[in-house]
């Protein structure tokens, strides 16, 4: 359903569909170059003096959310399994680094890798149970996993119980800036690459019609699990970085329910099933929330809830998705429309069947 068709007048004259289509084409052709440029641009702020303080933190968190949203989208938007419990991976990663660094004395970089691996391990175990469910059941099961993980953390001593853990002696702010930024670039590159390989195609096929994908010979469990574990890896690693970044971790922070909704909302608002969508959504929504937070303390989640509702009801394909539709709306008709495939073409000379001897 094209979103721009009726209200189009002004929009069409300023930004006609063909222009948008060209834009998409350009981005598609030069994706890697654009990513490279983005990578370079992102390294600049600290170089130009932004070393600490509020804006540094906001940017760092933006990258963090982009990682979370993109990871969610890998399973939710690309594979069609919308998880409502990705923060479980985040929390597990966060606690892993916290424990490894504080209690075991392992160096931070190693601990972060450990966080990612532990999260993947957890994901593979949970995945066996959860990935065989569909739709509603899958979503709620993942939500249950999140809450269970949160409860368990509240109860165990090793995680510091309800009070959590405090970490001192953490690297400086710029380290986290580069850490999350780097992780984001890596993930974007990886997801983009995968989306153009058969692996990515199969994930999309599972999303569009899992039964057909199975009938075509794909062991969908294998693919779903791979995507799930990949998402857990990045989410867990991000969590691992976060506990030190925040110098503090507790069950509320590690398994933050609000963030759980935010990351989904970011992917949705930006446009699920794309690489740019969740990232744009994360950058945009986080900025908006920060602005709202400074102006009306405590209302950011109400705004978030409203944003979710508006997006779902109004433009469920998100920014990138809606633009994509808008750009491509005439494609079908330009390329032959209903006549292609010899459909109505009783008069099309090429469509005359050559009748051979029947049998």
């Amino acid at each position: 359903m094209s979103t721009g068709s009726e209200e189009g007048g002004a929009l069409r004259s300023i930004l006609p569909p063909s222009r948008v289509d060209d834009l998409f084409g350009f981005c598609g052709d030069h994706a890697w170059a654009l990513l490279g440029v983005g990578a370079v641009v992102g390294t600049l702020p600290p170089v130009f003096g932004l070393r600490e303080g509020y804006y540094m933190t906001v940017l760092t968190e933006m990258y963090l959310f982009a990682i979370l949203a993109l990871s969610w989208d890998l399973v939710g938007g690309q594979t069609g399994y919308p998880s409502f419990g990705n923060m479980a991976f985040f929390g597990i990663g966060a606690y892993t680094t916290a424990i490894l660094v504080k209690d075991v004395g392992i160096a931070f970089p190693v601990a972060m890798v450990g966080a990612g691996l532990v999260a993947v391990g957890f994901a593979s175990v949970i995945g066996i149970a959860v990935l065989r469910l569909r739709g509603h059941y899958f979503a709620i099961a993942t939500l249950g996993v999140l809450l269970a993980a949160q409860q368990v953390s509240r109860v165990l001593d090793i995680t510091g119980g309800a009070s959590g853990k405090i970490l001192l002696d953490v690297p400086p702010g710029t380290a986290f800036y580069y850490l999350f930024f780097g992780l984001l670039i890596v993930e974007m590159g990886l997801v983009y690459y995968l989306s153009n390989t058969r692996f990515g195609f199969v994930l999309n096929a599972i999303r569009d019609d899992e039964e057909k994908a199975t009938a075509m010979g794909f062991n969908t469990t294998y693919y779903k699990t791979a995507a799930w574990m990949l998402a857990a890896l990045f989410t867990g690693a991000a969590g691992g970085g976060y506990s030190l970044f925040n110098t503090f971790i507790d069950p509320q922070t590690a398994y933050n329910g609000a963030w759980n909704v935010e990351l989904i909302a970011m992917a949705l608002i930006g446009g699920t099933g794309t690489v740019a969508g969740p990232v744009i959504g994360a950058f945009g929504l986080h900025t908006i929330i920060e602005i709202v937070e400074t102006a009306f303390v405590g209302w950011q989640l109400v705004i978030l809830g409203a944003a979710v509702i508006v997006t779902v009801v109004g433009f469920p394909k998100g920014v990138v998705g809606s633009l994509g539709e808008y750009a491509g709306e005439m494609e079908y008709y330009k390329r032959g429309g209903m006549a292609a495939g010899g459909g109505e073409a009783a008069s099309d000379p090429e469509a005359e069947p050559e009748v051979e001897a029947g049998e």
Partner: protein
């Protein structure tokens, strides 16, 4: 892949060929499936040989779709065996049977709606199997060329980058068909391919299927209710009624078989 068609050879396979000439691509041996007290499929033996187009007809409720599902692995037969190219695939998981060379087209025409037509075909390609290496490689030129070739085959060339969900029902059926050709299955099962297609498209469909059968050596086993369609396209036909095979033969033979007429008219 594309072999020159020898018109005589293909049309001759069905008539005088003895089943022992070559191993049957598909063979079922006494397949039986029950649902509670109802026997949907009762001891059905069928064979499909390489290069044939075989039809499966019968009144509603005869067990045709159930038989199909037993062959594809969607359902497990209670008794009997299914052999694909001589290999016993009875009870194997659906995706494994598909990988072993069995393609299936659905009655309601399923394509991957959010993906482009091109991607739909790329997904269908089974070259290189499912090894990690081939999964992580981008589609090579040969594959992309093949996609264009097949799309041109069904006259959908210009729509390669359009979202498959945008296409009309008939066009989606052609895409599904092209996807199957992409996968180069040993055997293609088609479930009511003529369903919901307007008459002019039907002519084209018959043509596409025939061409695929000759040029691409596609072996086809199809369920169909549209008698004109089946009689025109099939080399041989099996007739099912009440789960049992009651007749088989060429279209001409079937049309004159009293048992078949009785089954359809409800006499028994």
């Amino acid at each position: 892949m594309s072999e020159a068609a020898d018109a005589d050879a293909t049309s001759g396979v069905a008539e005088g060929a003895s089943p022992t000439d070559e191993e049957a691509v598909l063979r079922t041996d006494g397949v039986t499936k029950r649902f509670g007290g109802l026997t949907a499929v009762d001891g059905v033996d069928i064979e499909v040989h390489s290069g044939e187009i075989v039809g499966l007809i019968g009144p509603n409720g005869a067990g045709k779709s159930t038989l199909f599902n037993c062959i594809t692995g969607t359902l497990s037969a209670d008794e009997g065996r299914v052999f694909l190219r001589g290999r016993d695939v009875t009870g194997r998981p659906e995706y494994e049977i598909a990988r072993a060379g069995l393609g299936r087209m659905f009655q309601e025409t399923r394509v991957f709606g959010e993906m482009s037509v091109r991607k739909n075909l790329l997904v269908a390609a089974q070259e290189g199997g499912a090894g990690v290496g081939s999964l992580l490689r981008r589609p090579d030129d040969r594959l992309l060329d093949r996609v264009d070739e097949l799309l041109a085959y069904v006259d959908l060339g210009g729509l390669a980058d359009v979202r498959a969900g945008r296409l009309s029902f008939g066009q989606q059926k052609l895409v599904e068909f092209a996807m199957e050709l992409m996968a180069e299955p040993d055997l293609l099962l088609m479930d009511e391919p003529a369903g919901g297609i307007n008459p002019s498209m039907l002519e084209n469909l018959i043509e596409y299927i025939r061409r695929a059968n000759e040029d691409e050596d596609a072996t086809i086993f199809l369920i169909e209710h549209n008698m004109d369609f089946v009689m025109e396209i099939a080399d041989r036909i099996y007739v099912l009624a009440h789960g049992e095979r009651i007749a088989d033969g060429t279209p001409a033979e079937i049309q004159n078989d009293q048992r078949v007429l009785d089954a359809y008219l409800g006499r028994e």
